[in-house]
């Protein structure tokens, strides 16, 4: 772990306020498993949005199935509402290559045709490999490919960032 001044709770508060102007009356928030799903659950509550939030998994549309095989640990996609004609706001903790976002957009369209799809994230860490951008990012930083950044919970349930140095 290298110390890095990313205050996940402060960034969450920024994301929450940044999302308000993006939401329409019929918008649905869909969190990307796993970090994004925790964010979506809390945003749904803190923003007082009606109904349940959605959770979406990239597992079935990943482009690295040939190398990595099936990631069975992921929770399945759970969209407890119709996506047909709805404005969808995808929420994730970290935006990196954009490959996960490409996969979950495919996954989302397996359930119907949304009116629109936007993306909001806590941290955009650069390093994109696809033409994908977030409509809102609470922080934009640059990290080397050797570091892995992900959202976690501390013992009291607060959001914190985990940074791991990948061993090649």
């Amino acid at each position: 772990m290298t110390p890095l001044l990313l205050d996940a709770e402060a960034l969450y508060a920024q994301l929450r306020e940044g999302l308000r102007p993006m939401l329409r009356a019929d918008s649905a928030i869909v969190g990307i498993w796993s970090g994004g799903a925790w964010l979506a659950e809390r945003l749904q509550r803190d923003l007082g949005l009606p109904g349940p939030h959605g959770v979406i998994s990239s597992t079935l549309h990943r482009d690295d199935f040939g190398e990595r095989g099936l990631v069975a640990k992921a929770d399945p996609t759970h969209l407890p509402f119709s996506v047909e004609g709805r404005p969808i706001v995808l929420v994730d903790d970290v935006l990196y290559t954009g490959r996960t976002i490409r996969a979950v957009i495919n996954e989302l369209f397996d359930f119907g045709r949304p009116a629109s799809v936007a993306l909001a994230v806590l941290v955009d860490r650069g390093g994109r490999e696809l033409p994908i951008e977030a409509a809102y990012a609470a922080a934009r930083i640059s990290l080397p490919p050797t570091q892995r950044l992900s959202l976690a919970h501390d013992a009291s349930g607060h959001f914190v960032f985990d940074i791991e140095n990948k061993t090649a």
């Binding site: 040939g66 990595r68 099936l70 069975a72 992921a74 495919n106 359930f111």
Partner: protein, 320 residues
């Protein structure tokens, strides 16, 4: 001392072929059941297809006819976006005298990625798995009296779905156990998953005493066999067994071992009734029970597709 490796697993202990449930680690079984849970919802989507096996060719090789099993494998492969080729081998190459391995060599030259094999001879899928190219995967869809592992896994998925925990259950398997590859696969799976009470129920000709070696309780009396059971798995009475003097008549069999509402009442009140299909109403199971609220025979069919999707995507994603 070196242990001979289970041919179904690679050096990392990951599943690369599914040939038999016997010898599979408990964690591998649970992983397949967990994965099947993910796929169950795919069949309910607007688009019932995911791209995991896009560009892969799955060959269904049925040396023995089984429209239903072949169809469920075909649906599962298609929902994973594979190209499916159905070969009615029983009526083609073998009839012309081609050997099993020559058939496989020919199909491999057509760039098959996976073989789903149903064969009348026990062990045929093992032989095929030993001779395919390293990137090719094999699924046993039933071999002789030996094994029907995807049926065993879908039965375990069904039991886990309704009962959650295996470690407190009493499971009765009723019928022609000795000729049944389904029963063998179920018994292996239940044992691996820690079911403490497995009963094999039926007449002496179909449930011989030496089944005890598999760790099951042998019951020739149906009343004793289903008493307080949590799960009752009924097996199809294969008509061809009737003629071989193994049984007096269908009517006599139904009287002794057919599942009626009266016999079902001896089991626990929340017991589930399973059957691998096709069912013979009035032979091994009464219509009122087959259609009753404790019957989960049709959910088994839906679970079967998800389980076969889980098996195919799991083995296709693991390197040999």
């Amino acid at each position: 001392m070196t242990m001979s490796r289970n041919p179904q697993l690679n050096a990392h202990g990951e599943l690369i072929h599914l040939l038999s449930i016997e010898g599979l680690p408990r964690a591998v079984i649970h992983q397949i059941l967990d994965t099947a849970g993910t796929f169950l919802s795919v069949s309910e989507r607007e688009v019932k297809k995911v791209p995991l096996l896009r560009g892969k060719s799955v060959f269904n090789l049925f040396f023995e006819n089984s429209t239903r099993t072949r169809t469920t494998f075909e649906i599962a492969a298609k929902r994973l976006s594979a190209d499916v080729i159905n070969l009615d081998i029983a009526r083609s190459s073998t009839a012309k005298g081609e050997s099993l391995l020559d058939t496989i060599a020919n199909l491999s030259a057509m760039h098959a990625d996976m073989f789903v094999v149903r064969h009348g001879e026990s062990g045929a899928p093992y032989l095929i798995a030993q001779h395919v190219a390293p990137h090719v995967h094999v699924v046993n869809a039933g071999d002789g009296r030996h094994a029907h592992p995807t049926q065993g896994l879908l039965d375990m998925y069904t039991i886990r779905h309704y009962k959650r925990d295996f470690t407190q259950l009493s499971v009765a398997i009723v019928g022609d156990i000795v000729h049944s590859r389904v029963a063998r696969s179920d018994i292996h799976a239940l044992t691996i998953l820690g079911v403490p009470d497995i009963r094999a129920v039926g007449p002496k000709t179909l449930v011989p005493g030496d089944l005890r070696e598999m760790g099951v309780r042998v019951c020739h009396d149906m009343t004793e066999g289903v008493k307080d059971a949590d799960v009752i798995i009924m097996l199809r009475l294969q008509n061809e067994r009737m003629s071989g003097a193994m049984l007096p008549s269908a009517g006599e069999y139904f009287k002794n071992y057919g599942l009626t509402a009266q016999k079902l009442a001896l089991a626990r009140s929340d017991a589930i009734v399973m059957h691998p299909g096709p069912i013979n109403r009035g032979v091994e199971i009464d219509s009122a029970v087959a259609d009753g609220k404790q019957s989960v025979i049709l959910p088994q069919v839906s679970f079967g597709i998800a389980v076969r999707m889980a098996v195919m995507s799991t083995i296709a994603g693991n390197d040999t």
